[in-house]
Symmetry: C2
Subunit: 617 residues, 2 copies
């Protein structure tokens, strides 16, 4: 077998691995790639094999997004965790005998095998050479395309009536709710709240209820004097390569009391201020009309009641906006909880995260608030500092989650596998019930080992960051072939991990990886009233993006996002699920057909090369 064939064989198998895990979890795998894979196998492509996640459509006119009238009935099933995975049983008896219902779940050993295969592949010399060369070629090819067709693309856009970069839809695909306002907004809100609520009891200080006035007095400050400097929530030179310092920036004036009061869903005032701030951000997005955002709210897995509290906050404060699509982020901080004795083992953490969701899926009426909230939740994120090394290696010998009772944190891959596996089963159950499904969209490749990107390649619908794809040509090429969307936040990276000019966004975009722009944390990183526009403007200026580039990135952000099918049809066109130029409606996206054709032909060419490579056998 020559090097070319060896590489193609490996890449082919890698793609089938991703295809399998995507399908299992109702996540996306591109049709074109599937067609080539079937071609290689000598089989015919069946469109019905394609799966899509299901996201809740926005309420119709007059419909109340918090209406609990139509919640489905109780199925009476029982859900229990075993080996870190929630199983669904017909009843308690079946559960006791572990006779679960037929909801396919990933096979643990196969997953480890697949993973080990991929670990070997990304280190395999010939494949590294092959993919490196292909990527280099893709770069040069785009440069040539640009030189030849830039003016033609611009001409297409100029001929396109009534649509330009400003009124094509863009989604902030990665933003944390607790930092979704900018620093000036937070400052204004604090001052305003003090003017109105100074005498309101807002906090419990060492067992004593205190008013806002007393709270600020205990901090020796008066909101009138507060400035963005003293608020001190903005990242600066001090936070570069210091994720710990960055995390501390979430505390206004360095006081965790103020974080509790203003940026938490759970506090003495039921998270009212936080809800108000978010609704103000949403209202700005609604006014801007063409901007959407996907904020993350935290579930820690510390306590099974977290979901109840969070959904209660969501419903009571009616935190809904058609321009916001919600996600749940799970911090990878088992070690901290374990050290404080909050959880006995890692399995309990997983149970706290997933069991309430399974139960609400089986019997929605038992917890209407949670069921309503879950309708508006679109996916899970996995978050924390990736540069922390765990020292553990995920393998067949790894302890099961219920056995993981040591102080050490499990590895990134271990976390990812168990989140993915539970989401996969959950999605099947929800799909059966006609409910919306969840996508898995972890932070990945912001720092740390390239194996993180490998784990996400197997499990994630799409990822945030992806910077470290720079370090592995094989993975970078695979992300290209599988067209895995990457939500990039160069301003965030600039403050934390990588200088702006060195950000690979432009390189990835040129090579044909699917990138979108996102803000991550406007409170920490942005200066203006429109953080997403600031993100686009800076990228456009520094990287000299053309209008077509910017509109392509905007389009990718909608594709990547959890906007519902209905909204995507409205924003991208009837055929948005088709790939290549026929899936593009320039009147809605303002992306030139020349560009779309270039992207499609280029992708097909690369997929075809693999097919050719395998023919020689």
């Amino acid at each position: 077998m020559d090097d070319f064939e060896l590489s193609c064989r490996g890449l082919y198998r890698a793609m089938t691995i991703r295809e399998k895990y995507m399908r299992l979890a109702y996540q996306r795998f591109p049709r074109t790639a599937s067609q080539y894979l079937r071609d290689i196998e000598g089989e015919s492509f069946k469109p019905e094999d394609q799966v899509q996640p299901v996201f809740t459509s926005p309420p119709k006119n007059g419909e109340d997004p918090f209406d609990t009238a139509d919640l489905p009935k109780n199925l009476g099933y029982v859900a229990r965790m075993k080996d870190g995975l929630i199983y669904v049983y017909n009843d308690g008896a079946a559960a006791d005998k572990h006779q679960p219902k037929d909801l396919p779940c990933p096979d643990y050993n196969t997953f480890i095998d697949d993973m080990n295969f991929l670990i070997a592949l990304i280190a395999q010399g010939p494949t590294k050479t092959y993919t490196h060369r292909r990527l280099k070629f893709l770069m040069s090819k785009f440069n040539v395309h640009e030189m030849l067709n830039e003016m033609e693309e611009m001409k297409e856009l100029k001929m396109n009536p009534h649509r330009d970069f400003y009124n094509c839809r863009k989604v902030d695909t990665h933003i944390h709710a607790a930092a979704c306002m900018n620093q000036k907004h937070l400052l204004r809100f604090i001052k305003k709240s003090y003017r109105v609520d100074a005498d309101r009891v807002v906090h419990n200080l060492k067992g004593k209820e205190v008013t806002m006035k007393e709270l600020f007095e205990s901090l020796h400050l008066h909101p009138y004097d507060l400035t963005v400097d003293s608020l001190d929530v903005h990242a600066g030179r001090q936070t570069f390569q210091r994720f710990d310092k960055f995390n501390a920036k979430y505390n206004p004036v360095g006081a965790s009391e103020l974080r509790d009061l203003y940026l938490k869903t759970e506090n003495h005032i039921g998270g009212e201020y936080f809800a108000t701030i978010i609704k103000e951000v949403a209202s700005d997005l609604e006014d801007a009309k063409y901007q959407y955002a996907e904020p993350r709210l935290s579930i820690y897995g510390c306590n099974p009641s977290e979901w109840i509290k969070l959904s209660s906050w969501f419903n009571k404060n009616r935190v809904f906006s058609p321009n916001l699509k919600w996600m749940i982020q799970v911090p990878r901080i088992y070690d901290i909880f374990k050290a404080r004795n909050f959880v006995p083992h890692f399995g309990k953490m997983l149970e706290n995260i997933f069991l309430p969701v399974f139960q609400a899926t089986i019997d929605p009426q038992s917890n209407p608030e949670l069921s309503i909230f879950l309708k508006h939740v679109t996916g899970f994120d996995s978050v924390d500092d990736e540069s922390k090394h765990s020292g553990h290696m995920f393998s067949t010998k790894s302890p099961k989650p219920e056995e993981w009772d040591i102080a050490k944190n499990p590895s990134y891959t271990y976390y990812i596998y168990y989140m993915y596996a539970n989401i996969a089963v959950l999605n099947q159950l929800r799909r059966q019930r006609g409910m919306n499904t969840f996508t898995f969209r972890p932070h990945c490749g912001e720092a740390g080992a390239v194996t993180h990107l490998l784990a996400a390649f197997m499990t994630a619908d799409n990822i945030s960051h992806g910077l470290n794809l720079k370090k592995s040509p094989v993975l970078q090429y695979l992300y290209f072939l599988a067209q895995i969307p990457i939500a990039m936040s160069p301003l965030s990276n600039n403050s934390l991990f990588l200088e702006y000019a060195k950000n690979p966004l432009l390189e990835f975009h040129k090579k044909g990886l699917v990138v979108s722009l996102s803000t991550d944390d406007p409170m920490q990183f942005h200066y203006t009233k429109e953080p997403l526009m600031e993100e686009y403007a800076i990228a456009a200026q520094v990287f000299k993006l053309s209008t077509c580039d910017m509109c392509e990135i905007s389009r990718s952000s909608v594709i990547q996002s959890a906007l519902s099918h209905e909204e995507k049809v409205h924003f991208l066109g009837q055929d948005y699920l088709k790939e290549g130029p026929e899936g593009n409606d320039i009147r809605k996206t303002n992306v030139a057909q020349i560009r779309m054709a270039y992207r499609y032909e280029t992708l097909c060419y690369e997929l075809n090369l693999i097919k050719e490579g395998l023919k020689t056998e």
Copy 2:
């Protein structure tokens, strides 16, 4: 004489040259530098020798900025041009005999001598070495200062109540009125105007009056379909190093008819739309409260009636805002006018530019509209593509302006000298009458020869761009010593002359040159609704500026600007004219005193070195 002494001697003389020409024209020269110069000369510094330009204060409550009641009486003087310079005479008889009034004007031969001295100095080996080393030292010194004091500076700012970057005043020190709105604003305005005024006669098309509807029909487009793409006023990759293409971007949809209708003061509708757009921009600035701008309007010198028309537009449309300070830009395009036979010689162009202003100064009531307008004009700018080489060398042998009747354009320096000389005389006359004076603030060092920066060093109160100071250590050091403000526009440069990351703004700022940030042309360069904030945000992100850096730049922009003494006292503090920390009111500027002290000590150290160098003689 050793190299050190030689350099110091040269630098000393250079500084005295600038001091002389600044004083002559009522422009600024720093007190500290004057004190050192007097020290060197063994003389005592007289504060009364210091001069300051005079800018009109904003109208008091209820005062009408267009009120003509208090215009001064006619002095009955006669103004006439001779050798390119306007002289003022007691009467016609004195004029015929050329017996001008005693208004000191620069001596032509001395000016050339001074210029030749400076030309030699910036090429002098030892001085180049000396200044290069000093600049390198200034850079390293600032880096050390930053490492040692960054946290202390931040602490000072955090302790400073109620003032942060957002509410300290900043002035957009360099912006062209015809491009002061962003592209989206212009687009919206065009659409709105069509909805309201479709049937209004707005244009004269080949001798026929046409309605807006007919005008758009003749261009084969409908405003409803118009987008920022088809509007095509934004600079892109195509404009890099192509000033010609950039200039064409002033025409919306490439149609000069639309430029006439929307972006000109003189057209079929009396510049009504342009005035409305500017007033909308002003209203946004007033809402933002802390932002000011200094837009440039054009006087071409093609025709003596230009001033009358422009001031009539200004008064009729009541284009006034406390947040706007007006400037006059004069394009250096004699060659074009001469080719079209609009002017017989260069002297006529100068006469058209300056004579009406002299006349309105002598007899304000003869043209009340112009006199009111001049009250709000704060200075002159000289504009055009600096990279065009003229081939002419300004010297004692240069033809006088009235003899300059060849097709070729005079050199940059020739233009600068005659503009400066006329402004100097004009300011003396206006000062005598208690009127506001004008500063000379040319575009300089954006491209072309370093001699442009040399000419501005002799004549300009402050400049725009200054990029080419990179190329001459001697001039760069002189700009530092004389603390000449430089309005920099890195986003503009990024689209035209220099990539963002290579912009010397950060380097200049660190070395202690006085830099401000300005937008130049929001229509062509910016994406967001707040172009000046976009400019600051991008600089902050790319250059990783600290809050103290940003507030120092904001403070410099107020210093550089033509805000009146009254406003500067209000925005910078009572003692803003003092140099060093005692001139800084941190409560208003949010600039740390540690920073101010560092800057002042550093400047004094460098000035003192020169003094020491001269002692050895």
